[in-house]
């Protein structure tokens, strides 16, 4: 389990995160939602060790994560960035291979890369140049790379973690669902997943646990049904809309106007 205990992050004098505590449990998809500038990405950056803490601790299975070596942390969690460009003409195969580490035979590495590409629906893209792909395709190549990094969700009973920063941002509908299916599958097989999501319907559909961030604090958390309420949407997002019920018995949100009619 990854536990953040009262973490505080400052940019200059301003507090971006104020004493936030949260736990990333293996076996479930944790969705982080919140308005722009609430601190969602900052939380993800903090738990992936990208920014220094002004206070608090982050622990992985009880050990202080900020003191662990990058090499060790990388075997336990992978981070999918929002976007990233490449300066050199790498092929898709070569980019995905960056995720595979440790001494393995060339044959095993190739198999892993091929399997990862198939998972993200880019089976025959290995030989294409990364720079020539569309934004959504590049995003999926990175997902394949990240999957290679923590291929087994829970090897020897030790769960691995996937951090996804708006994984569906530039994807079409089919691949939004495919990506989140992959994330959910990772969690079902024992791994832990954290995803920043903007689409609340997708959050309701895929997250087992939702954390609502607002003004650098956690405004609400719990299962989707408990969190996605009219009152929360009004208080946090400033929209007066009703949460409806559809597909099956999951809540869904249909944005029609920011202001009540």
């Amino acid at each position: 389990m990854i536990e953040a205990d009262r973490i505080t992050i400052r940019a200059g004098k301003r507090e971006i995160l104020s004493s936030v505590s949260l736990a990333i449990q293996p076996g479930r998809v944790t969705g982080i939602i919140g308005p722009n500038g609430a601190g969602k990405s900052t939380i993800l950056k903090a738990i992936s060790g990208e920014i220094a803490l002004a206070g608090g601790t982050i622990r992985l299975d009880g050990a202080d994560m900020t003191r662990m070596k990058a090499r060790h942390v990388a075997t336990r969690r992978a981070v999918l960035p929002q976007s990233s460009s490449l300066a050199f003409p790498f092929t898709v195969h070569e980019v995905v291979r960056l995720g595979v580490s440790g001494p393995r035979s060339m044959e095993a590495v190739r198999e892993r890369v091929t399997a990862a590409l198939a998972r993200v629906d880019l089976k025959d893209y290995g030989g294409r140049f990364f720079q020539e792909l569309s934004g959504g395709e590049q995003q999926r190549v990175h997902l394949a790379r990240v999957l290679c990094q923590v291929w087994e969700p829970c090897p020897h009973g030790k769960p691995n973690y996937l951090f996804l920063d708006e994984p569906t941002a530039s994807l079409d509908l089919r691949h939004q669902l495919l990506t989140l299916d992959t994330a959910r599958d990772f969690a079902r097989r024992g791994g832990g997943v954290v995803a920043i999501l903007h689409d609340m319907n997708l959050a309701a559909l895929y997250a087992d646990h939702i954390i609502v961030v607002d003004k650098g604090r956690i405004a609400a958390e719990g299962p989707p049904r408990a969190v996605l309420t009219d009152a929360m949407l009004q208080a946090v997002f400033g929209v007066s809309i009703r949460v409806g019920q559809a597909p099956a018995d999951q809540p869904f949100i249909l944005p029609h106007s920011v202001f009540a009619a």
């Binding site: 070596k69 050199f88 060339m106 890369v113 290995g126």
Partner: protein, 359 residues
């Protein structure tokens, strides 16, 4: 052998790269042999072969003869120096481009060579005139150290200026490099202005580059640091690959980016420092070689770095052969040849990437 038997997978260029490294090794060997046989003295290929065969067989009848001196005290050290300098410049270029995530970073272009040259010139001018006369082996040893310090300080400053929050600005890098290079060149010019005739002769050599001063003591001093740089290649290859994605992405992949940057800056400065100390400022090798290889075998540093070393060595030896032959019995400074090939090359990269490189 994995490279011939395994099935090719689309986008996996590693087998091709390994094959290319073997071919480049053969090419380097051929260039070295060619370099031993070419020169204004008219020493024939047959004589060269005979002299080498004699030496290998332990016969030293020819020691002291003109042809023996030409081969063993001029051509062999010169060829070896060409290999060492060419390899260091190309590897330094490839590493620096990886560090800056930009194919246009070149030690010569962004002022690192000028910084190194300033260090070396300081030793030549101040070393003999102002502080204490330092001569002989101490002087040969002090040159690369001073050049290394100059190159190191320049690289560090450049990286500090051009990189913010893990993002390197190409425009800032090139412009800051020009400014730093101009500053170093101004100081160098001042020193040249203050120097005497004897120093002046030695100093002109820095500005255009030459392998003409190769001697065995220089080879002995240049070899260990360059071997050290080459030995560092496997330790930064995966890191440099990951760094292409961005600094935080590299860290997420488990790379200790601070350590990686220190190693690369150190290695680059060392390679350029030694090259500049013994062969002067030779531009464009560091840009042309890695660029051609990226097109041919892909940008993965695990193969790009060793291939750059081999091709850089072969290219510089070949350029030196041109220098020795083209205006014989006089010699052309090697910087003229590399710039003539390299500058149009650089422009062609710029033209092709005009849309991609934001300045």
């Amino acid at each position: 052998m994995t490279m011939s038997l395994s099935m090719p997978v689309a986008g996996d260029r590693r087998s091709r790269a390994q094959l290319a490294i073997v071919v480049l090794g053969v090419l380097l060997l051929a260039t070295m042999i060619g370099s031993l046989c070419v020169g204004p003295s008219g020493l024939s290929t047959g004589e060269v072969g005979q002299l080498i065969a004699d030496a290998l067989a332990g016969r030293f009848d020819a020691v002291g003869s003109t042809s023996h001196v030409i081969l063993f005290d001029i051509r062999i050290p010169r060829t070896l120096l060409g290999a060492l300098v060419g390899a260091s410049l190309a590897v330094a270029g490839a590493m620096m481009q990886g560090l800056f995530r930009n194919p246009l970073a070149d030690p010569g272009l962004v002022g690192v060579s000028s910084g190194a040259a300033l260090g070396a010139v300081l030793v030549i001018v101040l070393g003999s005139a102002l502080i204490a006369p330092i001569t002989g082996i101490v002087r040969i040893g002090a040159l690369p150290i001073a050049a290394f310090v100059g190159g190191f300080a320049t690289t560090l400053t450049l990286y500090g200026i051009a990189t913010r929050e893990g993002r390197t600005s190409v425009g800032t890098m090139l412009l800051a490099g020009i400014a730093l290079g101009a500053l170093a060149a101004a100081l160098t010019s001042y020193l040249v202005f203050r120097s005497d005739d004897l120093q002046l002769r030695e100093l002109t050599f820095w500005s255009m580059g030459s392998l003409g001063g190769a001697t065995w003591p220089k080879i002995l001093i240049a070899t260990p640091p360059i071997i050290a740089v080459l030995a560092l290649m496997p330790f930064c290859a995966r890191g440099l690959d990951a760094l292409v994605l961005g600094e935080s992405e590299a860290r997420h992949l488990g790379i200790d980016t601070q350590r990686l940057k220190s190693i690369v800056i150190f290695a680059t400065a060392l390679a350029v420092g030694v090259a500049v100390a013994f062969a002067g400022v030779i531009g464009f090798v560091g840009i042309v070689v890695p660029h051609v290889l990226r097109l041919a075998i892909g940008p993965e540093h695990r193969t790009l770095l060793p291939a750059s070393a081999l091709l850089g060595a072969a290219l510089l030896i070949a350029a030196d052969m041109v220098c020795r032959v083209i205006v014989a019995p006089a010699e052309l400074p090697i910087g003229i040849v590399t710039a003539t090939i390299g500058a149009p090359f650089f422009l062609s990269i710029l033209l092709r990437k005009r849309g991609v490189v934001d300045l």
